[in-house]
């Protein structure tokens, strides 16, 4: 029995070593990104994996200025925040009504939502832009509505799955006590949906924050309305004409990912739980 225990201990140590090597491999591009954000172009190319000779902040300050960091951060935040609020309100309402009313129409609507998850963005982006342009919505408001529309299917699906398991008797009790429809929803139903709401926020937030194509098509190179990803894209595009300006790209990428990494460190528990739940309920 004792040798068995020793064998298990050894096995555990070997597993730890393999997992640590994997963790180092996964983190190394990011560590390497950080180091190179403090170097000049020559130094980056000459010794890409070394520590910087001097920890100089000038490249980061330059990048903050070039990609209009704080402005872009604000735009990205507003777009992500508004889209998610829109998504939560609209999809939880719809899913709730669909589950509780149990009619043919609600079943058909739910099926439409599920089927729409198979439609890739590329297969409707050109007509979408055409339609929104004609409605005068080829701007930041239109962008938020588009995210609301694209995130809808999955969010309705997630809420629908959860609300099915919530007994309607709670709401009935509230109704008898004289609550109106909105009180019933926000005071009784919505607090129970907290877990699903976290999943909806995390999954959509990850996607909207980092999205490149939709802002590129809707906003393009319009000054003052670019998201972080767009600023990065245009910074690379315009300076890329004269070789690769790594002393701009590295610090620019570095500062654009800092907010997400900070958020991840603080909310890590919720993010991992949200993503896992979302994937399992699919």
């Amino acid at each position: 029995m004792r040798s068995m225990k020793g064998y298990h201990k050894l096995l555990e140590i070997v597993i730890h070593i393999i997992l640590i090597i994997l963790a180092v491999t996964i983190l190394s591009p990011l560590v390497f990104l950080m180091f190179n954000s403090f170097k000049s172009n020559n130094e980056i190319v000459a010794s890409p994996i070394a520590l910087p000779e001097v920890w100089s902040f000038r490249y980061i300050i330059n990048a903050v200025d070039k990609i209009n960091f704080f402005g872009a951060l604000g735009v990205t935040f507003v777009v992500t925040f508004c889209s998610i609020v829109l998504l939560i309100v609209v999809s939880s309402f719809a899913a709730w009504a669909m589950v509780r009313s149990k009619s043919v129409i609600s079943n058909i609507m739910f099926m439409c939502c599920t089927a729409a998850m198979l439609i890739p963005f590329q297969s409707l982006m050109y007509p979408l832009l055409d339609i929104f342009e004609k409605m005068g919505l080829k701007n930041i408001y239109g962008l938020i509505l588009m995210y609301g529309g694209f995130g809808l299917s999955m969010s309705v699906f997630l809420y629908h799955g959860f609300i099915k398991s919530v007994p309607a008797s709670l709401e009935e009790a509230a109704l008898i006590d004289g609550a109106n429809l909105f009180q019933m929803f926000f005071k009784v139903e919505f607090p129970l949906l907290k877990g699903t709401t976290v999943t909806v926020i995390v999954l959509n937030g990850m996607w909207i924050w980092n999205d490149y194509l939709l802002p590129f098509l809707v906003i393009g190179n319009k000054e003052g309305f670019k998201t972080l990803t767009l600023e990065l894209y245009f910074a690379k595009l315009t300076s890329g004409q004269y070789g690769n300006p790594w002393e701009l790209i590295f610090p620019a990428v570095f500062i654009t990912i800092i907010p997400i990494i900070l958020l991840y460190i603080i909310l890590q528990k919720y993010i991992v739980a949200g993503v896992t739940d979302g994937a399992i309920k699919m």
Binding site: L19, I26, S123, V253
Partner: protein
């Protein structure tokens, strides 16, 4: 009570329905119709409305005659297969190893998931540098640590670039898929494996006859996510090679068709987009149907 909700169904669902019609249904329907017309983005060839510019299946025929589309099509399929296999192997290994531990698995999970939070474009730029400078000039060079010519200048060759993209995508997505496999593994009752061990089943036999069948519902999800994400990949492709050296994936091909043609042929791009939709629908539905059939109910 049902009646109470039925009466209020319409106003509650209305905002969602409007968004859905405006952003998904209408553009999708319009897109299918326009794919049969000479649409140029801002106008139609031969008239004011799409029916004046109706061209039948001409756009579709042109799509299949286009070398660029055929190339993007085969390239996407090859890439999806390679990437899906590598993501699944790496993430399953990560999950198996970390669930075997008594403690500390949470920390590894947190680290492995991190790249998933970051944008494909930003990561693509970092990896472009890694492939071009670190791999080619330092690590895998003749004078480097180990000389492996395959890993040098990966971005300047069509098929090597495909593997480069697969490495990037594996690095990014494996942590996510690992979370799903880990949950699946934790849901397998321990006594099944213990009973089999008492009956004399070895590690491999237990893995093959217990773990794999019990993990089928996780396979369904992971296959669905990896296949659809790789099939629709765009940002990483744009950032890494920008489609140069015939490395366009289908999503990039659709985006760039309007830049290739002058005047921009949106009808042609839209026909490609409709084919793209059909491909994704067929691939995902078949995959889900196949793996669902193998799921075990306890």
């Amino acid at each position: 009570m049902d009646k109470y909700y039925k009466k209020r169904l319409v106003p509650l669902v209305l905002p969602a329905a409007i968004l859905f019609v405006m952003v998904i249904l209408l553009p999708f329907a319009v897109g299918v119709i326009y794919s049969f017309s000479g649409w140029r983005g801002t106008y139609f060839v031969g008239g004011e409305h799409f029916w004046d510019a109706f061209v039948g299946f001409k756009n579709y025929i042109n799509v299949f005659k286009s070398q660029k589309f055929i190339n993007a099509f085969t390239y996407t399929i090859a890439f999806t297969l390679v990437a899906a296999v590598s993501i699944n192997i790496v993430s399953l290994l990560m999950a198996l190893l970390s669930t075997a531990l008594h403690k500390g698995a949470g920390l590894y999970r947190t680290i492995y998931f991190l790249p998933n939070l970051l944008g494909g474009l930003a990561l693509g730029y970092i990896w472009q540098f890694i492939f071009e400078i670190v791999f080619s000039e330092i690590v895998f060079n003749e004078n480097g640590l180990i000389s492996i010519p395959f890993f040098c200048n990966m971005l300047q060759n069509k098929w090597k670039a495909m593997f480069a993209l697969a490495i990037l995508v594996t690095w990014q997505m494996a942590g996510y898929m690992m979370l799903i496999y880990t949950t699946g593994l934790n849901n397998i009752p321990k006594d099944l494996s213990e009973a089999a061990a008492i009956d004399g089943a070895g590690v491999w036999q237990r893995f093959k006859n217990i773990t794999i069948p019990m993990l089928m519902s996780s396979f369904t999800i992971v296959f669905f996510l990896t296949l659809s994400r790789c099939f629709m990949l765009l940002d990483q492709n744009v950032a890494l090679t920008d489609g140069n050296f015939s490395t366009r994936l289908l999503a990039t091909q659709i985006l760039r068709t309007t830049k290739d043609t002058n005047p921009p042929d949106y009808g042609l791009a839209q026909a490609q987009a409709v084919i793209f939709f059909i491909l994704i629908a067929v691939v995902s539905l078949t995959q889900v149907a196949v793996t669902k059939k193998r799921e075990v109910e306890l």
